[in-house]
C-alpha cells in the first residue's frame, strides 16, 4: 500500500504562505512513492511550482495531466490556498 508523503515545506524568506493538497495517481503514484502530499509554499504559485516542491525538484513528465480542484487545467494554472492539485498519467478507463 502506498501512503501519504507527508508535508513538504519550503522555507520562506518573507511573506505569507499557503497550503495545498497534492495527489498522485496510477503509475505516477508508484514513481513518486506516495499518493500525495501537503505542500506549503509562497502565496503566488502555479501547478508547476507545486509539482516541483512535491516531487523534490523532478521534471514534470511531458504526458502528465494536471487537475486543480478536480477540473483539468495546465501546469501554468495559478493555485490558491486550500486547492487540491492532482497529477496523473493519461487516462485509460472504459
Amino acid at each position: 500500500m502506498i501512503g501519504w508523503c507527508g508535508s513538504v515545506r519550503k522555507p520562506l524568506i518573507e511573506g505569507n504562505s499557503m497550503t495545498v493538497k497534492v495527489k498522485f495517481f496510477a503509475s505516477l503514484k508508484e514513481q513518486m512513492g506516495c499518493d500525495g502530499a501537503t505542500v506549503e509554499i509562497g502565496e503566488v504559485a502555479t501547478a508547476a511550482d507545486i509539482w516541483l516542491q512535491a516531487s523534490g525538484g523532478k521534471a514534470l513528465p511531458p504526458n502528465v495531466l494536471v487537475a486543480v480542484n478536480m477540473e483539468y487545467t495546465d501546469q501554468n494554472h495559478a493555485v490558491k490556498s486550500g486547492d487540491e492539485v492532482a497529477f496523473f498519467p493519461p487516462v485509460t478507463g472504459g
Partner: protein, 148 residues
C-alpha cells in the same frame, strides 16, 4: 441520468432492463422510441499478451465530476430522455463487464450519437487507469485503442 462508479460486479442486461422498467418507463411513458447501449467487457489479451486480471484505479470525486460534465454535454447536444452510466473499479477478471453506457431518446439518431459521444468522452477524459496482471508481472495500460 444515473451515474455509478463502484467495485460491485456489473450485470449490464439486468441493470438496463431494471432502469428502463423502474425509471425511464414511469417518467416517460410512450415517449422513448430508441435506446442505445454500449457494454465494455474485460478481454483476456492486450498488446499481444495474455491478461489474467486487472486493477482499475480512479480519482474519487473527480471521476464522478467528469462523468457528470460529459453527461451534461450530451444532454445539451442531443435530445435525450434519460441515461445510465455504470463503471467498475477495483479488481476485475476477464469476461467481467467494465462499463455500461445507455441513453433513451425519442428517435435513434440522438440515442446512437449520444451513446457514442459519452463512451468516447469517458475514454479520453474520465480519470480511470488500468493495471493489467500478466504472467510476467503487472503493467499500467499507457493508452486506449482508437475509438473513431
Amino acid at each position: 441520468m444515473k451515474i455509478v462508479v463502484d467495485t460491485t460486479p456489473l450485470s449490464p442486461w439486468e441493470a438496463l432492463a431494471e432502469y428502463e422498467r423502474e425509471v425511464v418507463a414511469p417518467a416517460h411513458p410512450g415517449r422513448y422510441g430508441a435506446a442505445a447501449t454500449f457494454v465494455g467487457t474485460m478481454r483476456d489479451f492486450n498488446e499481444g499478451d495474455a491478461v489474467q486480471g486487472m486493477f482499475l484505479e480512479h480519482y474519487p470525486g473527480m471521476t464522478e465530476k467528469q462523468l457528470g460534465l460529459i453527461a451534461d454535454e450530451a444532454f445539451g447536444q442531443w435530445s435525450l430522455l434519460d441515461g445510465l452510466l455504470l463503471h467498475r473499479v477495483g479488481e476485475l477478471k476477464p469476461s467481467e463487464p467494465i462499463v455500461v453506457v445507455a441513453v433513451w431518446s425519442a428517435h435513434r439518431k440522438d440515442a446512437f450519437e449520444a451513446c457514442r459521444f459519452i463512451m468516447e468522452a469517458l475514454k479520453s477524459r474520465a480519470p480511470f487507469w488500468k493495471r493489467e496482471e500478466l504472467h510476467s508481472g503487472s503493467r499500467w495500460v499507457e493508452k486506449n485503442s482508437e475509438g473513431y
